[in-house]
Symmetry: C2
Subunit: 168 residues, 2 copies
């Protein structure tokens, strides 16, 4: 789907996700699931990426809701304005306004990653995958990660996973 | 915690939630969990409020992420500006800007609730509880729910639950 061309606003797509957003997972039987983190957890069900312990599983969700409310609206949106819209004059104030919230989110992650190798502890989970996404390209939104050594080490730890596939 | 007095910014609270937000659940053993929907699902674990079927459980999360990204930032924030800040002149443009996104979220809910009694189907889940919160007081943010009959019926359906307790 080309969101800049309005593909997510056409009636065919809206029938599958009335909220008009990507990503959208469509199963073979036609059922559809939206929201990136819900999709991630659904696809990871039964794997080691989802902890069995109920508190640790709740922590996975805590970080994923943090990603949606406190991370993505700043870091991903700043990157979108810079990378995809080309930082036009009429969006510069918006872009600048995103910087403080983005750095606050990165500081929250840094504090945790100084204590544990992954966000919820010793094990890689879907929380790390959720937050890896926009964090590993945060520099494209103007965020200098050299101030966050624990985040940098965590990014490298994830990229060194045996089945890691880089986006191109 | 009195957020208007800055209670969530003091060092004692930040030690428990570095993101400085309420709600925060503190267990007897001192462990802390933040993010309202993560708390809700943790407390509901093992109950009928969380479906056993993996796809329906993913749908619960879909609606909860929708709540955080597409509903709360419009409806709850408009209500906060109107009810708690008293709709000051310097926030009126912000308040007005929230109306369109709020109505879009309500329309997405209305479409689903025209098809099923609860958001994920026949059964009340934590998705309904998550979205009931700010929807049932949306009028305090300027949203007239008379345009959404299925939402109104759903609100009444939830309020008629045997163990429903109204906020005061």
């Amino acid at each position: 789907m080309d969101i800049l061309a309005g593909d997510t606003g056409n009636s065919e797509f809206l029938a599958k996700n009335p909220n008009g957003k990507i990503p959208l997972l469509e199963l073979d039987d036609g059922r559809c699931l939206s929201e990136s983190n819900a999709i991630l957890n659904f696809l990871a069900a039964g794997s080691e990426l989802l902890p069995k312990d109920s508190f640790t599983l709740a922590k996975v969700q805590q970080w994923q809701f943090f990603e949606q409310y406190s991370h993505e609206p700043f870091i991903a949106v700043a990157r979108f304005i810079a990378k995809y819209l080309g930082l036009p004059d009429n969006r510069r104030a918006d872009y600048e306004a995103k910087q403080q919230g983005g750095h606050k989110a990165l500081a929250v992650m840094e504090a945790q990653l100084l204590k544990t190798p992954y966000l919820t502890g010793e094990q890689l989970t879907t929380a790390d995958i959720a937050l890896y996404g926009y964090t590993h390209v945060a520099h494209e939104g103007g965020f200098d990660l050299t101030h966050y050594p624990a985040i940098q080490a965590w990014l490298a730890r994830i990229a060194s996973q045996p089945q890691y596939v880089a986006m191109v």
